[in-house]
């Protein structure tokens, strides 16, 4: 078996206000899998993803990405790390006033010089690449429209295209469908699945809904209070486990 793309060992994150969001989390992410992280709000899911691409600085522990511990790297090394890690967010985090195409081109910033990029000198090659990914997520026809004119689901697809434009080997998705309606939810998840299977990009995704987990995940990790309480196949999450992860008396909500 090949070496895991991402290997997290004993990761601890304590915020300056004393909150311990992660209390020694360890797990591996295999190349090409669709790993879903579940857990209550505040269980540390978002913190975990943000430690991987170093939007947050971990307190201690190791994050081995492509064979290199990146838990404490600084400056230029952080930026070159981020180039290989795409990320999408619950609130899409696009630049509202810019066009869809220009938002996707933002994915190329890491590969460009500062001065080259501020004057908008994106190469034809980059533009072609951006359009290709917009086609992949099915909104190439909206390329010239301002990002804030799009619906939530469309914006999230633009965000996926932006992440793909980086040419990442792994894609982090922080509750990508939490602010979308059930129908759009599936569209976005389907595109994530497509990215995973067709482009072979490893996906690590935080989710709330177990029905989505069963449908899309190849493996599941559950966090509770900053610790891993479950690791296994989606089909292994029984009623008993569900109660354990989400607390006694929780009811599963189905989304179709």
């Amino acid at each position: 078996m090949s070496q895991p793309i991402l290997s997290i060992k004993n990761l601890v994150k304590t915020y300056p206000n004393g909150v311990q969001a992660l209390k020694g989390v360890s797990f591996d992410v295999k190349r090409g899998e669709f790993l879903v992280v579940i857990g209550l709000s505040g269980s540390g899911k978002s913190t975990l993803l943000r430690c991987v691409n170093r939007l947050h600085d971990p307190t201690s522990g190791q994050i081995v990405f492509e064979g290199k511990d990146i838990a404490q790297v600084q400056g230029e090394e952080v930026r070159s790390l981020r180039k290989h890690i795409g990320m999408i967010f619950q609130h899409f985090n696009l630049i509202p006033r810019h066009s869809v195409l220009s938002n996707v081109l933002m994915g190329r910033l890491g590969a460009m010089g500062s001065f080259q990029s501020i004057f908008g000198f994106f190469s034809d090659e980059d533009k072609a690449k951006a359009l290709k990914y917009l086609k992949l997520v099915g909104i190439a026809d909206k390329a010239k429209i301002r990002a804030d004119q799009l619906s939530g689901g469309q914006q999230q697809r633009v965000a996926i295209a932006r992440a793909l434009a980086q040419g990442p080997s792994i894609l982090l998705a922080d509750e990508p469908v939490a602010s979308l309606d059930p129908a759009t939810c599936h569209t976005v998840m389907d595109y994530l699945k497509k990215v995973n299977t067709e482009l072979g990009i490893t996906v690590v995704c935080n989710l709330h809904f177990l029905s989505l987990v069963r449908q899309y995940a190849t493996r599941v990790i559950a966090l509770k209070g900053g610790e891993i309480v479950f690791e296994g196949k989606p089909s292994d999450i029984t009623e008993e486990w569900f109660q354990k992860i989400y607390g006694q008396g929780s009811k599963e909500v189905h989304i179709n």
Binding site: N53, L55, R79, S80, L81, R82, K83, I85, G86, M87, F89, H91, F92, N93, L94, I95, P96, R97, H98, M106, G107, R108, L109, G110, A111, S114, S117, I118, A159, R162, A163, Q166
Partner: protein, 345 residues
């Protein structure tokens, strides 16, 4: 909690000391020499404040909330306010404290501005004012061409000051925004710049004009420099406040692509602040035209300098013409800037 008690005590003791000093002046009728003895008077004020602080603490300890002071009712936290019953103001100590404070201040105000109805209705004085008004309302349009040239100079003074201030304030604003100057080193730069700009803004443009009129000589260049300094300080403050209110989402979004700090500011923050920036800038130009007129009075060139020359010679019809020109231009700028800012929303 602690800071609320401090604010309450300071407020109450200040008001008490204020009353005490006024009472002392009325009762003891001090000589002018005694009034000028700043050290001794300051000491008395401080002593009165200490007594006031003790009184405030005593009154606010009382269970009966109608005995609580004005400081308490001003600064107490909302949850304490919610516990209290509604009372008519005249049944509370704080209510009377406020009324007496306002009454005493008004009377002292009348005294210290030497308010005098007899002066206002003095016939000779009134006749003088009438002559002045007659002149103002019969403007001498012979100097109109010169006034127009001068007001153009004033408008350009304001324009140049604003234009030159934009790039400087634009760059400085990011260094003065708390949300992007987080690391210890960056925070030190932030604090240093903030202090420097607060200090600069505390000095009125009028004072800067006096400084520059000595430095580069009387004229529009001095006025422009004064406005420039003031505009940089003000615009930087307004710009940086906008930077502090941007949403974090796009910043995270751009950062996650591996962008540099510079690219993050340019692509995630600038698009969010550019419209308010333009709006503030247009407004600043409008303010600068008004300020440029005033600055001219102390040697900053333009229409203000022209105005002070004719006013010094009591040539009221000429002054009337100048005032008319100023009023029209200021009104026009005001309207134009309002329309532009509205369309930017």
């Amino acid at each position: 909690m602690k800071s609320y008690v401090f604010r309450r005590t300071f407020f109450d003791s200040f008001i008490f000391a204020y009353f005490a000093m006024i009472l002392l002046v009325v009762a003891a009728q001090p000589t002018p020499e005694q009034m000028l003895n700043l050290g001794q008077n300051f000491l008395m004020f401080v002593i009165a404040m200490v007594i006031g602080a003790a009184l405030s603490a005593g009154l606010n300890k009382s269970k009966n909330s109608s005995a609580h002071t004005l400081g308490e009712s001003l600064f107490e936290p909302a949850y304490k306010k919610a516990e209290k019953a509604e009372r008519f103001w005249y049944k509370t100590f704080a209510g009377w404290q406020l009324v007496i404070f306002l009454g005493v201040t008004f009377i002292v105000g009348l005294k210290s501005t030497k308010f005098s109805v007899t002066e206002l209705l003095n016939e000779d004085g009134f006749a003088g004012a009438l002559r002045l008004f007659k002149g103002l309302f019969n403007p001498n349009f012979e100097i109109l061409p010169k006034a127009v040239l001068n007001i153009i100079e004033t408008v350009f003074m304001a324009f140049m000051a604003t234009t030159l201030a934009i790039p400087v304030a634009f760059v400085l604003s990011f260094f003065c925004a708390k949300n992007i100057m987080k690391s210890p080193k960056a925070y030190a730069v932030y604090m240093l710049l903030r202090t420097l700009l607060n200090f600069t803004r505390a000095i009125e443009a009028l004072i800067w004009a006096i400084i520059f009129s000595v430095w580069v000589g009387i004229g529009p260049f001095a006025g422009m420099l004064a406005l420039l300094i003031h505009s940089i300080a003000s615009l930087t403050k307004q710009y940086s406040e906008m930077v502090e209110t941007v949403s974090e989402g796009p910043i995270e979004g751009i950062q996650s692509t591996g962008a540099t700090k510079f690219q993050t500011v340019w692509f995630a923050i600038v698009p969010q602040v550019i419209l308010p920036y333009i709006s503030f800038t247009v407004y600043r130009w409008d303010i600068n035209v008004r300020m440029a007129t005033i600055i001219g009075l102390v040697g900053g060139g333009g229409i203000g300098t022209m105005l002070i020359q004719y006013q010094g010679q009591a040539m009221w019809p000429e002054v009337g013409c100048i005032i008319l020109v100023i009023a029209i231009v200021v009104w026009g700028m005001d309207q134009a800037s309002a329309v532009i800012r509205e369309s930017l929303k």
